[in-house]
């Protein structure tokens, strides 16, 4: 018998510290597999954010820099501008990239910075215990929207990849999900393309991945995937939102 599914070399052997069923692990595995498949583990510097995603620095087997909350793109740009021949990616939650770090993400995209950003959108602040995020759905209860997100008070959820897709320097923007094996494979394809875009030096690439937070959503892992599919996927634009001609020919 041959091993047909093995742990990727893109990951260290440290077990993830996430709650059971949290799909952060799935997404990190996909990114790590892409690093291995493109043979860039030793050429890559990852930028970790603040929040649950911040733990990723221990799990990937490439070099890492820990950024202040929301500053991952700025830090990544500093690394990339200093070492243009290395691969740089940020791995950030929705709060990190789309709330506190909005300005850095938007300007990284506008300038066409040659880095890859992975945004993990679980519609909530996980690490701090389930507060409202810019991506929290209308009516969704969190500890800071205990009566449900009220658009009159809190506004409507922000579809961040759509904003980024509007900017010239963003050459590849995709929104994917990890709710089913099929979608997981699609997500991996998008992530791989986002890294290839950087290898080709084409511009800024963003992949937003819809993810679960069973603990703060108060659901089982299986129910969380169903909830994601039924509630989040209809709200957020899914699929490849921006693919320039150059990216198509990759």
């Amino acid at each position: 018998m041959e091993k047909v599914f093995a742990r990727t070399k893109g990951l260290t052997d440290i077990p993830f510290s996430f709650c059971p069923g949290c799909t952060h692990g799935t997404i990190m595995r996909l990114v790590a597999e892409v690093l291995e498949e493109l043979n860039i583990i030793e050429d890559t510097i990852g930028i970790s954010p603040v929040g649950c995603a911040g733990f990723c620095q221990d799990f990937f087997s490439c070099d890492f820099v820990g950024a202040p909350h929301g500053r991952a793109q700025a830090v990544g740009i500093g690394v990339k501008r200093a070492l243009p021949d290395r691969m740089v990616f940020t791995y950030q939650g929705d709060g990190d990239i789309a709330a506190i770090g909005t300005q850095h993400a938007i300007h990284a995209a506008a300038r066409g910075e040659k880095i890859t950003s992975i945004m993990v959108n679980n519609a909530i602040y996980g690490m701090t215990g389930g507060q409202m995020a810019p991506t929290t759905l209308e009516g969704m209860k969190t500890s800071t929207s205990p009566y449900g997100r009220n658009p009159l008070v809190d506004g409507l959820p922000m579809d961040f990849p759509k904003i980024i897709a509007n900017l010239e320097g963003a050459v590849y923007v995709a929104s994917v999900s990890v709710d089913t094996p099929k979608n997981i494979q699609q997500a991996k394809k998008a992530i791989k393309k986002a890294f290839k875009v950087q290898q080709a030096g084409l511009g800024f690439a963003l992949v937003s991945v819809l993810s679960t937070c069973p603990t703060n959503w108060g659901m089982t892992p299986v129910d969380s995937l169903k909830w994601l599919r039924e509630n989040m996927m209809p709200v957020y634009a899914m699929g490849e939102l921006k693919v320039t001609e150059e990216v198509k020919s990759l």
């Binding site: 070099d63 700025a74 500093g78």
Partner: protein, 356 residues
């Protein structure tokens, strides 16, 4: 060696280029803007990178990233912009990253004005950002020092793996003065076995400041503390001017330190034994400078462009063994050498001294 006439801010830019600075990340703010302008023009032709960031927070975090690769990197701003950078400065100190930060101090608080001030003394030497860290802080008082200290700042940053702040002000930054473009000093031999540049042929590295284990957190703090103590021991710097026989001492740095020299000369003409201690490192504060005088002189006056900030460090340095007074101007105003002397004569009742 070439002697040129440049604006203070441009001098810093030129010194950075000649120090091997490879990257500069900034955001325009008066009165520091000429630093980013000068480098935008002169660094890229030398193979360096200048990027105007989306804001000061972006700029300092780009410095943080670039410093992680071991590249020489600098940013410059003025007071409100430096406030925005504090988060990144704290992270840089915690990750022990060498970088040079220039603050062309303007007056505050708030948006304040554009005139010279020393209102950011506390911010510069007492932390500024959160946590318990120190920056090495250099205080130039003239064009040549802007040049020399910028070069030294890069070397000190590398030597101690610590951010170094150059505390200039609107007067120094905007004044044109001749400067000798000295050669770069021999850079210190530094260990680069910590940089993040891809884990090729070595174990992966993480540069971060995060520790959820209290025991590790304390060990980190103790390691930083030991480094800060070493810097305090080795790097205190100051200039003395007519101190040997002084009965009274002025203590002042930067622009006012320079004005105070004229005050001292005028006082000497009147027979007043006045001297000056001009701190060059504001952190580590040059406490050693005060040791010979703390039992000897009758009193001291700090001359500051704020409500009295450095005076606290002077009082600590002399262990309150003598009266320490403050003469200050604020809001962008500079004192004249005469009004400083008037204050000295008044506060120490020296008006009876005859002119010689």
């Amino acid at each position: 060696m070439e002697k040129v006439l440049l604006k203070g801010n441009e001098i810093i830019g030129e010194a950075a280029i000649r120090s091997g600075c490879k990257l500069f990340f900034g955001y325009p703010i008066t009165p520091s803007t000429e630093v980013v302008e000068y480098l935008s023009k002169h660094l890229p032709p030398k193979g360096g990178t200048v990027l105007q960031a989306e804001d000061e927070i972006g700029a300092i975090n780009m410095c943080y990233g670039a410093a992680c690769t071991g590249s020489r990197v600098m940013t410059a701003s003025s007071s409100p912009g430096i406030s925005l950078k504090q988060e990144g400065i704290s992270y840089s100190a915690a990750a022990e990253l060498p970088m040079v930060i220039v603050n062309v101090n303007r007056c505050g608080p708030g948006l304040g004005g554009l005139g010279p001030a020393q209102s950011d003394y506390f911010q510069s030497v007492k932390g500024g950002g959160h946590g318990d860290y120190r920056l090495i802080v250099l205080a130039p008082s003239k064009a040549q020092e802007l040049y020399d200290f910028t070069m030294e700042a890069f070397d000190m940053a590398d030597k101690y793996r610590n951010p170094v702040l150059i505390l200039s002000d609107g007067f120094l930054g905007q004044t044109m003065e001749p400067v000798v473009l000295k050669d770069r000093p021999e850079p210190p031999k530094v260990d680069r076995n910590w940089v993040v540049n891809g884990a090729k042929g070595r174990k992966k590295r993480i540069l971060a400041s995060y520790s959820l284990t209290n025991e590790i957190g304390e060990a980190n703090n103790q390691r930083w503390e030991a480094k800060y103590k070493e810097i305090q021991e080795k790097e205190q710097r100051w200039e003395e001017f007519y101190t040997e026989d002084a009965e009274y001492l002025l203590v002042s740095y930067g622009t006012t330190g320079r004005i105070c020299k004229s005050t001292v000369l005028n006082a000497r003409k009147k027979g007043i034994k006045l001297g000056l201690i001009r701190p060059i490192t504001l952190w580590p504060y040059p406490e050693k400078a005060f040791i010979p005088y703390k039992e000897k002189v009758k009193g001291m006056v700090t001359i500051e462009l704020n409500t009295g900030q450095m005076i606290e460090d002077v009082k600590l340095a002399v262990e309150c063994k003598m009266p320490v007074h403050l003469y200050r101007r604020q809001g962008g105003m500079l004192p004249t050498e005469h009004e400083i002397l008037d204050y000295v004569e008044d506060i120490f009742s020296l008006t009876a001294v005859e002119e010689v």
